[in-house]
Amino acid sequence: MDFLKSIRIAAGGMRAQAGRMRVVAENLANANSTAQTPGGDPYRRRAPTFRTSFDRELQATTVQLGPVRPVAGEFQTRYDPNNPAADARGYVKLPNVSSLIEGLDLREAQRSYEANLNVITSTRRMLQRTIDMLRA
């Protein structure tokens, strides 16, 4: 049944977007995570990657969440000599997480998630209509 395949493809997309949301949540939760040792590097923002693969069973290109990679970028510093993570000059490195970017990423993931959900709802309606043919 091809309709079930469509539903499974869309469900795979939802899973990938949910994973993306998880990564965004991780980033936001660690927005203030400084290093444990003096002068060390703080939390580095991580970004999800999407990977397409051809599913032989479904005969379709499905999407999966690929490896979550750390993002290169300069760390901001703040003068805070009393912080345990401060270096010799009294500066603390802050994570390269921007709440604005994370918020936008979250919205994007939400939008894609809803689109996949929409496909499932629509496909289910078509399936229901097919089953209804038995009744008439």
Partner: protein
Amino acid sequence: MTTSDVPLFSMLRTRMQWHQDRQKVLAENVANADTPRYRARDVRAPDFGQMTRTAGASAPTRTDSRHIAGTGGAGGSTTFRAHQTRGTVSTPDGNRVNLEDEMLKVAQNQMDYQAVVGLYQRSLGLIRTAIGKKTS
């Protein structure tokens, strides 16, 4: 005689198969809406003129199982080939899926499918009337 021997039914069935295949391709597009370098695909609509020409043709009768099955005639599984659409919107990562477009196509596909199923049911009703069965 089965319903697939009637040209109208086989044509409607082909159309339903097409909607089913299209839903799958659209589901792939939506699931891959965030995949870099992914291009949206769509399925070409079946040619109505071609369908009317082949639907009326009769297939050669096989009197022995070792005979080669003839082409032509109604019925038979049809596969629809997907082709890449000319994406107009291109994001920096090379993805060419327009989520709004895809949603529109999904909604339209669902409505068209329901229309075809309705037509199929009506045609069955006609046959029922012809054989003298009271319909609802």
